[in-house]
């Protein structure tokens, strides 16, 4: 008990926000403490699981029990790529310690159990990373020794080709399932495993570089354990309790932020030898200056109802030491779980966010991305994403939603077609706000510690108290068991007008001086909107004095100059820089530089 308290204290002391970035030794000490914290949780756990097995092997502790667990789990492997990654991870950590019988059992599983390859990028990334590592481990075997009938060499070649393809498109036109707090682990785990265990030096290097790449991407939009901005995918609990996401577990382990966790996602990476470069750690935790980050990402494969396979998704993110506000441009950029915009801040865990959306669903949307029949796809989707067709849901994009962000001001417009699945828009306001004032000026003015958020609804609205949150039901595929609680006390702003929108202003106390000044400022800045079908627009002069004009869907004008999102670079911010098509990422921090060149497969500093 004393040991646990001491570790937690040390961990807390090692968590840094602000300019004083701990040096390398201090970082590594903190990292090792966190590794010890999470792995020690698993090395005595008696229930069978791949994380428990991996830790026992890595710690050389109770190997017989680990072998027994492996045998138990391999009696009936299940989980597809969610089996492949942890099972090969456990094997690689223990292959020299496990019994010959256990090694044979593992080998046999790769002969007899045929995992589904999946239908999206994280599935393929996990599937082929695991297959690559397995094919390296068992070379020269004929197809009869593999579940798919292909020889070791064929499997190795196919996996390598896919991984190189994925790396190329990601570093050329952006990641597909980008910046996902909940799907970050599905990329980090395989890349860290490749970095540690790939025998081929070039693939090992690629694993290291892609680990750097996705961690750097996270780091630059990170605040206090949270991913800031718009996301491709997020599950409902984490959208309003950000630290519940798997990505936040990685933030805790690698950045030392957020809250201590024993999330299974980080166990196998914690046992690997990948160490976050100091420059990425610095980018993640130094919030002494404001960050404005613009990025270009890639829409998941559009297989019908579209003209382009991978249209661009544009991100704009603004982060201070107290808060971040970020947005995607709107529209359908990812199916089901898109988070188009949000404010997140350091105050008031666990509800550290304010955001809004048009809760939309349709066969058309899912038909864009999934090949099954459009008319029955919604039922298919609801089997795994239970909130998809819930009019009260808190995740998802909409074809009738667009945004325009400049610094810490965001304009959001809606022009919703009549007869759409829902004709209302919603806003989430957490219960733990210090202030939620409905000002006579029309502004809703909120105080969350040192973060102040103004929300100006362009149409009439009502307040609804949140009564219950739909439960997350995915714990059986390896996600941590999430809380299932009555969410009383949070507030939903609902507006039933189809032509709609709002203006969001966010400032910290440091930026504006006081909550009273913020209020007074907002009262003098009233948006002017036109809200007619097919003609939805807003003019607004920000607290910072910038003139923003926005007409739905794509006309964005800043201080008289039209904004052309198509010119957005892959990464364009104070720390990260990359051009479209470059296959290169340059990180800079206080005179230090790290360049990932994926064409040359080199890292230079």
């Amino acid at each position: 008990m004393k040991h646990t308290i001491l570790v937690l204290l040390l961990i807390a002391l090692s968590q840094q926000v602000g300019a004083q970035v701990p040096d390398r030794d201090a970082y590594l000490r903190g990292f090792e403490q966190r590794v010890s914290y999470v792995t020690s949780f698993y090395d005595t756990m008696q229930t069978a699981g791949y994380y428990q097995i991996a830790v026992r092997y890595a710690h050389n502790r109770d190997i017989a029990r680990a072998d027994k667990m492996f045998a138990e789990l391999l009696r009936e492997p299940r989980g597809d790529m969610f089996w492949m990654i942890p099972s090969i991870g456990a094997y690689l950590h223990g292959k020299d310690k496990m019994s010959a019988e256990t090694r044979a059992l593992v080998r046999n599983a790769w002969k007899t159990y045929a995992p589904y390859r999946g239908d999206t990028e994280n599935h393929w990334c996990m599937y082929y990373s695991a297959l690559y590592l397995a094919a390296e481990q068992w070379p020269n075997l004929p197809g009869s020794e593999w579940y798919n009938g292909k020889s070791s060499e064929e499997n190795l070649r196919e996996a390598k080709e896919y991984l190189i393809h994925w790396i190329k498109i990601t570093t050329s036109i952006g990641q597909g399932e980008f910046d996902s707090p909940d799907y970050f682990p599905e990329y980090a785990m395989p890349m860290v495993l490749l970095s540690h265990f790939a025998r081929d030096p070039e693939m090992k290097m690629r694993g290291t570089m892609m680990s750097d790449y996705i961690f750097a991407d996270f780091a630059t939009e990170h605040l206090d354990g949270q991913y800031i901005g718009g996301y491709s995918r997020i599950y409902q609990p984490a959208v309003y309790k950000p630290l519940l996401s798997g990505g936040s577990a990685f933030a805790w382990l690698y950045f030392g932020t957020g809250t201590p966790t024993n999330s299974g996602w980080i166990v196998i990476p914690a046992l690997c030898d990948y160490r976050l470069p100091q420059i990425i750690y610095s980018i993640a935790v130094d919030r002494s200056s404001t960050i404005i980050e613009k990025e270009r990402k890639r829409v998941r494969n559009v297989i019908r109802f579209g003209t382009e396979k991978n249209p661009p998704a544009y991100k704009y993110t603004y982060i201070t030491k107290d808060y971040g506000i970020g947005s995607l441009q709107g529209g359908i950029l990812q199916p089901i779980q898109q988070h188009t915009w949000g404010v997140r801040y350091t105050y008031g865990r666990p509800y550290t966010t304010i955001f809004g959306l048009h809760p939309y669903w349709s066969g058309y949307e899912v038909g864009m991305f999934f090949p099954e029949e459009v008319k029955t796809l919604i039922a298919d989707v609801v089997a795994s994403k239970g909130t998809y067709n819930n009019p009260d849901k808190w995740t998802g994009g909409s074809p009738f939603e667009r945004t325009f962000q400049h610094r810490n001001t965001l304009l959001v417009l809606y022009d919703i077609q009549p007869g759409t699945t829902t004709e209302h828009i919603d806003g989430f306001f957490p219960r733990n706000l210090e202030e939620r004032i409905v000002d006579p000026s029309g502004w809703i003015i909120c105080k969350a510690g040192d973060t102040y958020v103004g929300w100006y609804p362009l149409q009439e609205y009502e307040w609804k108290e949140e009564l219950e949150s739909p439960a997350n039901s995915l714990s059986d595929i390896g996600r941590p068991q999430l809380e299932r609680v009555k969410e009383t006390g949070n507030w939903r702003l609902r507006s039933h007008k189809r032509q709609n929108g709002y203006v969001i202003e966010v400032r910290s106390n440091d930026e504006i001086g006081s909550f009273e000044k913020f209020k007074a400022g907002l009262q003098k800045h009233i948006p002017k909107a036109t809200l007619l079908p097919g003609k939805v627009s807003v003019h607004y002069k920000t607290l910072g004095g910038d003139a923003m004009q926005f007409a739905f869907p794509e006309k964005r004008v800043l201080n008289g100059k039209a904004i052309d999102l198509s010119k957005t670079r892959l990464f364009d911010g104070p720390f990260l820089s990359a051009d479209v098509g470059s296959e290169k990422l340059t990180m800079t921090y206080k005179g230090k530089k790290r360049v990932l060149d994926f064409k040359a497969v080199t890292i230079t500093e």
């Binding site: 989980g79 597809d80 292909k150 080709e161 008319k375 029955t376 089997a383």
Partner: protein
């Protein structure tokens, strides 16, 4: 008439002895999923099932959880050569399902259908959301064949049973025709969106029928030059499955989204509903037994398989309840 090749490239063929040709038959089905499919979860068994005449249970073969959309059986070799179109690619067995190999690589994913040229088993086609792919060497190599196709999402492909250079493909923007084994395609006279299925008359290769999402059923009698919408008796517009009675090409069956089963006895000019005993009207697959035209099989979305022994007059469930049965093939052995 083409000659029948007697070998598979690079593989040894095992020809099974079968029952009396023309009396016994085997029903093959691909189960895409059960109602509660979640990637990565402990999903119930799905994939390829078969049942011979007289069998009381369905037999499973191949991988158990691969999103099996389609299947193809090479009739002349009586089931030795079987293919599955799946999320993982095209699986191929040359020993009646005892062993399998995924013939495709990472580039070919979410395979929606597969067909084998009955005269040349090394010539196969598969369709995916990304278009049509072809192999001429039994799956050793595959080539993307989308030249001329505008909307690549392809649900269905047909190899002309009289001339295997001629192909038809149902896509998101109509039915396409190729005269050179898929090297290039031209859109036929049918340009509606959401073509889900194309079938060819077993006797007259110039007559084809297409089922669509939201646009009903179309028939061409001149190899795709002109298509006529067939509406008499049809109360629905979305059809995923159409099947000819191989013993009488005037008889067709059609089914789709909550349609139940429609039957035509005049080559598709008019239709009658045939739903007695059919407890799920959401149909995704249909097939008629080539050894007995009165025996018809229907695959539903989430209620398994139904069988009629009287040409659709009445139906009974024959198992796999809870399954989405994407494709059915009935073979004369």
């Amino acid at each position: 008439m083409k000659s029948l090749k007697v070998f598979f490239t690079g593989l040894t063929l095992t020809v099974f002895s079968a029952g009396l040709f023309g009396q016994q038959s085997t029903v093959y089905i691909s189960v895409l999923s059960t109602k509660l499919f979640v990637v990565g979860a402990a999903n119930p068994e799905t994939g390829l099932y078969y049942k011979k005449t007289g069998d009381t249970v369905w037999n499973h073969t191949g991988a158990k959880n691969i999103r099996a959309f389609g299947l193809a059986v090479h009739t002349p070799y009586k089931g030795s050569l079987i293919c599955i179109a799946s999320g993982n690619g095209v699986h191929r067995s040359t020993d009646g399902g005892a062993t399998w190999r995924i013939t495709t690589g990472w580039e070919i994913t979410e395979v929606l259908s597969v067909v084998i040229d009955q005269s040349d088993p090394n010539f196969m086609l598969c369709t995916t959301p990304y278009g049509v792919h072809r192999t001429l060497d039994g799956g050793i190599t595959w080539k993307e064949c989308n030249n001329g196709i505008k909307e690549k999402f392809a649900s269905s492909v047909v190899i002309d049973h009289e001339n295997n250079k001629i192909l038809y493909c149902g896509t998101e923007d109509g039915v396409y025709r190729s005269e050179n084994m898929g090297e290039s395609w031209q859109r036929t006279g049918l340009g509606v969106s959401g073509v889900r299925v194309v079938v060819q008359n077993p006797k007259d290769p110039n007559t084809l029928v297409a089922g669509t999402d939201d646009h009903g059923i179309y028939v061409t009698r001149n190899a795709g030059k002109y298509w006529e919408k067939t509406e008499a008796g049809l109360d629905h517009l979305t059809f995923y499955a159409i099947a000819y009675d191989p013993t009488n090409p005037q008889v067709l069956y059609a089914g789709g989204y909550v349609t139940g089963v429609y039957k035509s006895s005049d080559g598709g000019l008019s239709w009658t509903r045939k739903n007695e005993g059919l407890t799920n009207l959401n149909i995704h697959s249909l097939a008629v037994d080539p050894t007995n035209g009165s025996r018809v099989f229907v695959g539903t979305q989430w209620s398994g398989v139904f069988q009629s022994d009287n040409a659709g007059d009445t139906w009974r469930n024959i198992g796999l309840n809870g399954s989405q049965v994407w494709t059915i093939s009935v073979q004369p052995f």
